[in-house]
């Protein structure tokens, strides 16, 4: 089974938790400081395509969970790499040097929406939002409804008063 071979290879080199989710799906959990090294290693194993990078906000646990998905054209396997960082001081090493531009644009988006600093990414300028001065909008503690009330609606307006009523 090729999935098991891959996990064994990774486990031999790194101290990670790894398991097979199902056929052709492999998941690896690592510490953030070993991330770039691990990504370089799995790229050499054939995972050339970084298909997605996402961040999940867990405010109660105080962490941002990064999820990287990489696809291997050679073995037709999708690998998931998960790592957790502190959400109050979100900093992580960029994988720009591993996967290049495809990582760059994902990291730029996550920087905008979650405020994560990717050390080593050459361009983290705003991608979708213009003239944004609030906290990053995808953080769970960003109250978008309050923001909308403040910026778009008028409580004195009879037609818009309904937006200020609590349900």
């Amino acid at each position: 089974m090729i999935e098991k071979e891959i996990i064994d290879k990774i486990k031999k080199k790194f101290k990670v938790e790894g398991s097979i989710q199902r056929e052709r799906r492999v998941i690896v959990k690592t510490a953030p400081d070993k991330l770039v090294e691990l990504c370089k290693f799995i790229k050499d194993l054939g995972f050339e395509h970084l298909s997605s990078l996402s961040v999940t906000d867990w405010p109660k646990r105080g962490i941002y969970e990064h999820t990287y998905h990489a696809w291997s054209y050679k073995d037709k396997i999708l690998i998931t790499i998960k790592t957790e960082i502190n959400r109050d001081k979100p900093e992580i090493d960029s994988v720009y040097l591993v996967w290049g531009e495809s990582a760059q644009i994902h990291e730029r988006e996550m920087h905008e929406l979650f405020g994560v600093e990717y050390k080593g990414n050459p361009d983290l300028s705003p991608l979708f939002l213009e003239e944004w001065h609030e906290k990053p909008p995808f953080r769970k503690d960003f109250d978008w409804r309050e923001y909308v009330r403040k910026n778009f609606y008028d409580k004195e307006n009879e037609r818009e008063r309904v937006y200020f009523e609590e349900v």
Binding site: F128, L129, E130, E131, E134, P137, W144, R145, Y147, V148, N151, F152, Y153, Y163
Partner: protein, 144 residues
């Protein structure tokens, strides 16, 4: 026959062939394709879709506009020659629709552009679009 005002003369020329520029930001475009296609066929009223705002008489705006795209819509509007008409389609342009509490979409189009007519509906039916056009024709015919 009473003498026509210069404004009416211009408008009569305009409604013979309405050239439309579509500025669609969301599902509005997919819902308006039937208007162009053969079943409802807007060309029988002389309406054509053009690709350049400098040729257009009517600007169709459908769906929500984000804070970023409304600036581009304003620039498109500024490029259109007079007389120009803005028709807003769908409930998103009126109140924000289902995006009423979204942080990055505008809520009322008339705060940003002079809207001539709203067509309600989510999405508006092709018949509603043609009724709006008929109202423009009627308005021109009743002009002094």
């Amino acid at each position: 026959m009473t003498k026509e005002s210069p404004q009416k003369k211009t408008m009569k020329k305009l409604i013979k062939a309405i050239w439309v520029l579509n500025w669609f930001n969301s599902c509005g475009f997919a819902e308006l394709i039937p208007v162009v296609a053969s079943r409802w066929d807007m060309e029988r009223f002389g309406m054509i879709v053009v690709g350049n705002p400098r040729h257009a008489d009517v600007l169709f705006i459908a769906g929500y506009q984000t804070l970023k795209s409304i600036k581009r819509a304003q620039r498109i509007y500024e490029q259109m020659p007079e007389p120009r008409v803005v028709i807003a389609l769908g409930s998103c342009t009126m109140t924000g629709g289902m995006y009423w509490d979204s942080y990055n979409t505008i809520k009322r189009l008339e705060d940003y552009l002079p809207v001539t007519m709203y067509i309600p509906g989510c999405p508006p039916r092709p018949e509603a679009v043609f009724e709006a056009c008929a109202k423009i024709f009627k308005h021109v015919e009743e002009m002094e």
